[in-house]
Symmetry: C2
Subunit: 444 residues, 2 copies
């Protein structure tokens, strides 16, 4: 049996996929024939050889071609990717994609359509590149009551933070290096504002907690405001900065009724240097999964790049072909994305989770850096503001003075964010205070 693949896109990842398929690492992949490749330009020089009659700009034809069994979408962007995926499903094709943006926004629509058409949509490459994370979350780890998924899932920002940490340079300098090396785009917003990480944690959270997660319910803060100074002070206290994407079930206080809540967010975080995610540097990604009775596992490796991403795409292709070869009549319920389907279908109650908690309601320790006039009494005034809002402090230190200014760095105990924000607002009003350039959460 030969499986005919329609490949949409022959860019970074698409080229990597063709390279693997032209020299497959597993015998089952020899059953694959690349029937058609859809691109924007037929004239562009390509790094791989594709018979000219198979290269086309007519992507609509690929996804409706009765000869094609499996469509691999590697275009990127929202449209025409979304429409082509839906059309491929309508025509009964299995689908593989690396497109986190489309899945995070249109996942519900896509997986509903896939369930109706009885096809699978696989997307291992969409999150954390070459690291196996979606399949383990659905299979090996799935017997657990999953409690938390924490990820460093954006390689660009991890590279920038690693550079800032190692070289003591500013965000702008580190961004320029990332751009020069091709790790950041000319407009780096999607990465540095945390939007890409938010797309990915939406996907991880839906899988881990079995419920749809709306992208807009994810509070998201980027890394632009982190300064070399904050990184240095954090380090002195044994912390390192990481852009964390977090999804965890958060039991309500015993007093209040209602379902548990899914705490999901993306923001820069100070992690103790001994934390298992603290040593993930450069463009690497890592995902920590905590479950009961499992405990914690950490999966780490290259989160992007041609080779790792293509490896995940072709891993999905292999998984799909193996499944099709068994004579199965329906999709395997642990492949693709059944959690987004109506829960009644599987006979299960929907999980009792309210998605998204406003940051103000969460608890954390905080790192705060205040610029103030170097006057006696300023530490006392700042401490009093925190006390007024029941924010208890672990440490308050006057760091260094220049031009009559003092830098005062504070580490709080675990407090409600709303209380900390109120204290901060009061501190901003103090006559001695010039500004609060650093305010970050500390997690352990």
């Amino acid at each position: 049996m030969v499986y005919r693949v329609g490949l949409l896109g022959l860019g970074t990842v698409g080229t990597g996929v063709v390279q693997i398929l032209q020299r497959p690492g597993h015998p089952l992949l020899r059953a694959v024939d690349i029937g058609a490749v859809g691109v924007r330009s037929l004239d562009k020089p390509r790094e791989v050889q594709i018979p000219p009659e198979r290269l086309t700009t007519d992507l609509e034809r690929i996804v409706s071609d009765p000869e094609i069994d499996i469509v691999i979408e590697l275009l990127g962007g929202l449209e025409p990717a979304r429409s082509l995926i839906l059309k491929a499903i309508d025509h009964g094709k299995q689908v593989i994609t690396a497109n986190k943006a489309v899945i995070a926004r249109y996942g519900a629509e896509i997986f509903q359509a896939a369930a109706q058409a009885k096809v699978s949509v696989l997307l291992e490459a969409a999150v954390a590149g070459g690291i196996p994370i979606l399949q383990p979350l659905q299979q090996s780890l799935r017997a657990n009551h999953l409690q938390a998924v924490w990820g460093i899932i954006n390689g660009t920002t991890n590279f920038i933070l690693s550079q800032m940490t190692q070289e003591g340079i500013s965000f702008e300098e580190a961004l320029a290096i990332a751009q020069a090396r091709g790790y950041a785009e000319a407009d780096p917003s999607a990465d540095v504002e945390g939007w890409d990480a938010a797309d990915k944690i939406a996907i991880l959270a839906s899988l881990a907690f079995g419920l749809p997660v709306e992208r807009e319910h994810i509070p998201c803060e980027g890394i632009r405001d982190i300064s070399a100074t904050d990184i240095r002070y954090a380090r002195e206290w044994g912390f390192t900065f990481k852009l964390l994407a977090i999804a965890q079930s958060s039991p309500r206080a015993a007093s209040s009724a209602g379902p548990s809540r899914l705490d999901i967010r993306v923001h820069p975080t100070l992690l103790p240097l001994t934390h298992p995610l603290a040593s993930i540097n450069g463009v690497d990604n890592a995902v920590l999964v905590q479950g009961d009775p499992l405990g914690q596992v950490v999966l780490s490796g290259p989160g992007a790049g041609r080779g790792p991403t293509a490896s995940a795409v072709v891993g999905d292709l292999l998984t799909l072909i193996a499944h099709l070869q068994t004579g199965a009549q329906v999709p395997n319920p642990l492949l693709g994305f059944p959690p987004l389907l109506p829960f009644s279908a599987g006979g299960a109650e929907p999980p009792q989770l309210q998605v998204g908690i406003p940051l103000a309601e969460l608890e954390a320790e905080f790192y705060v850096r205040v610029l103030a006039q170097d006057q006696p009494g300023v530490i006392g005034a700042i401490g009093t503001c925190f006390g007024n809002h029941r924010v208890s402090l672990e440490s308050i230190t006057q760091k260094e003075c220049h031009r009559e200014q003092a830098e005062i760095v504070i580490l709080t105990h675990t407090v409600r964010e709303a209380d900390c924000q109120r204290a901060i607002a009061e501190i901003r009003q103090l006559p001695q205070v010039a500004g609060i350039p650093g305010l970050f959460r500390v997690l352990r």
Copy 2:
């Protein structure tokens, strides 16, 4: 549809499996009924409630009971585990096991039988406890040409080495702590001699490289000879001691013909503190997988214990049920262990790998600690011996003197092991030399 499970063994892991199944984390697991549980003693108090009529000492009956669909073997040991697994297969049952000892020795026999009976034998829990590693190696990572699998896959020895490193204590003291905490058995040989790690790397290597690995082809050295002194000196140079299980394809020298070779071995290793496996401490396990075009991924987490191991067993059960629900007519070729089957069946040539390389033929850097009389010229004499056998040195240091004795610690460049061994033999003959208590490989 209800799937009836026959559970063989209700000890540490078996009890954990029942606990998960009595409070399942995934709706598909509600289709599981624990039809029978086989134990040695009916009178032992149990931590979980099993209806008395389902508890039996007649394990033969469980594996031949037509009502049972899936047999989970959690007895441990070679017999009767092997015979019961084979009998279950003969009776057409799907099998799940956590028994690395049986699989490492009788895997070929068992998987051959499973292929004939068209059933799957799953064993995620047999290697690295709760860490998903066998499924990723077979699915998400399988599109790669796998080059190396390095593992810290014995929690007992990793705990002992971590204790020795953190507390500066001896092997015997650390072993006693491990025994007191239940991490080491009264007879700790299987762990500390590296035999358990060898069982597991045999399984990992067969999966990763797609060929049967005979347990006897794996050179294996334990951790008994590591002293607190060696750990301290290694640390000063930026290394930490780990018991590594290694499987990697080793291309022959360009000059020589013949297939590539599979370098597979277990021994204590000095790793740079910056190595991704260097920070795996305590009873945790980790597996590093390197492939082309993937690069390196590292999967880490709890390598043993009731919860993590049961999590992996029930993960396999879920995978199996999901597969059975699809109406598949044959086992999924990416579940269980097809690589041990005759390769012609899949239309693939057998991989061109010769399994096992004598350590003497391998290359490494070496750490050597020599006890010698504190006399002028001794460093020169030792250096000359190394030079005689073309062992080039990175560093040779006289550490401290007590009772007229000097400790001389050497780090070589990368050399053939046979050359290093010849130099060591010559050094042993030097009149000034009292002994060579430390000789270990350094890998990066």
